[in-house]
Amino acid sequence: MVEFFAQLRARGASFRLSKGAFHRISAILTVLILIVIFSVASPAFSSTNNAMTILLQTSVIGMLGIGLTLVIITGGIDLSVGSVLALAGTVTGLVIKAGVPVLPAMFIGVAVGALCGLINGFVVTKMRITPFVATLGMMMMARGVALELTGAAPVSRLGESFSILGQGRLFRIVGEGPHGLPSVVFPGIPYPAILLLLVALSVAYLLRRRATGRHIYATGSNEEAARLAGVKVDRTKIIAYTLSGALAGLAGIVLMSRLGTAQPNEGVMYELDAIAAAVIGGASLMGGVGTIGGTIIGAFIIGILRNGLNMAGVSSFIQQIIIGFVVIVAVYIDQMRNRR
């Protein structure tokens, strides 16, 4: 009897593993193929330096993608992340200009993002407006507010400390080159990449190990069933949208810190890249399906593609065509997999 159950569990576990692993392996394979192609096309592509650059460049889309994954699993969508990113970044900039120190200012920025997300969540749940429309409205409003606050001008001269988050690097090793000039031995891991890792781990923990995560899946899978089972569906959705907003705010601060300037025009169409990352990573826009690991891989597929095509000097028009095509093919491969 005991043996039987052990077997049962083993079977279940192995099934789970094999399915998850299958997914991962195929997506990682796509990444590897891209890396091989681009390494051949441009030798500089496969340098440590460029690897760190890709980590850095992908971190903003990665953060937005993680937030979107939460929302997408509930069966929703968040079109406002690009605008919220800009609003949070400019508010941070303005607050610093007004004399608030950098760290509290950054918290204010994240709070602004979370507030936008909270409003999205309320509009979706309490006013019962389709997420597409609710967040489309927020997309326009957040951008309008960011532009109005700054008069469309970038907020500049925010000081050195504002740039640390976006431009700093961990384990940077600079040796001494010939003629006593410095020479970079290891370019260092960019702080944004580390932040992305931390965010990914915490959200993955939330989704897998906490009741809230389970409820997010249940809500997206069958909202009525979840409600009847006593899941606070509205609360669950509001949490998802608020987290998405907060992560957009965080991404905004990281981006603006990288730029050293708070730009109210930044982040246009970023939502599409973030959604593409989540969907390439296996999230279903019908709800109920999606993982953080998958989204991260999806974000890297897009990031590597952009970086590699730039490195290879491909015309930006052709780049658009290629990226559009790869998005469809990547999702197609994912579908094939699920159909067994």
């Binding site: 049962l8 906490r210 249940a218 899978s221 069933a225 009847l228 089972a229 006593g230």
Partner: protein
């Protein structure tokens, strides 16, 4: 179990419940009650309003009119959560399962077992589900598959398990055996007996006259939204009930059996 005395406080007392949809009156001034350890069968033609009445009691639908008391106290059931907190569990006619989750996740949905740190205790949930599901259907093995890939009957078993696993006082079963095979149906009948002996009150919506006469203490018939009669099972014959269901009234010249009708 002996018939509960008329003077004990009923577990559930629904008074003058009404529910409209636009022009459609789904539930029309219906009163009903349920005592501890009693099974009340709810019958009626299709569209008579049975499911609506039950959904109102389970907090999934709010009535336009009417008062509900549980254990003699007036309650407001604004959400399934309110009902659940009062020990009201429901097996819905349209099985309410989250298709992408597996059986244990569905069973414990909304009241997950947790480790001391507040993390989900998937291992314990799996073992518990295995036990309760095994009792209802010994063939149920693919516990870790998403329930979307299970057969209709397997899904039904999960829905039943979910209702009885927790501390249930009032159980609503909306056609629980419609999708079940004969052995599973027998299991459910046994289960109803057992729960009843534990003092749980059960509303059983069913179209199966045999089941109703086997299991129920009282039978209540709805016709076009109205309650057309509540009777002790000893007072009526199958033909009486059929007449109530179809015509909305007892056959001409009907007199109660040994005992008086409750209402």
């Amino acid at each position: 179990m002996s018939k509960p005395s008329k003077n004990a406080t009923p577990l559930v007392d629904m008074k003058n419940i009404e529910k409209h949809f636009g022009g459609v009156v789904a539930v029309n001034n219906v009163s009903a009650n349920l005592y501890a350890g009693e099974v009340v069968g709810l019958l009626g033609h299709n569209g008579a309003g049975k499911s609506c009445l039950m959904r109102i009691l389970s907090g999934a639908m709010t009535p336009n009119e009417g008062v509900i008391s549980v254990n003699g106290e007036k309650v407001e059931l604004k959400s399934p959560l309110d009902a659940r907190d009062l020990g009201i569990e429901t097996i819905y006619q349209t099985l309410a399962l989250a298709n992408h989750l597996n059986a244990p996740s569905n069973l414990f949905l909304g009241r997950e077992l947790k480790t001391p740190f507040g993390n989900l205790d998937d291992k314990r949930m799996l073992e518990e589900s295995r036990q309760v599901l095994h009792r209802l259907n010994p063939n149920f093995k693919n516990l870790l598959d998403p329930v979307s890939s299970l057969s209709g009957g397997q899904r039904q078993v999960i829905a039943i398990a979910r209702a009885i696993y927790f501390n249930v006082k009032i159980l609503i079963m909306d056609e629980p055996t419609a999708a079940l095979g004969p052995s599973e149906t027998a299991m459910v009948s046994e289960l109803i007996q057992e729960l009843k002996n534990q003092g749980i009150g059960i509303f059983l919506v069913s179209h199966d006259m045999h089941d109703v006469f086997d299991l129920c203490d009282r039978v209540m018939v709805m016709n076009k939204g109205r309650n057309v009669g509540t009777h002790h099972i000893e007072d009526v014959t199958k033909d009486d009930v059929l007449s109530l269901i179809i015509k909305g009234e007892l056959p001409g010249g009907w007199t109660p059996g040994k005992k008086e009708a409750v209402q």
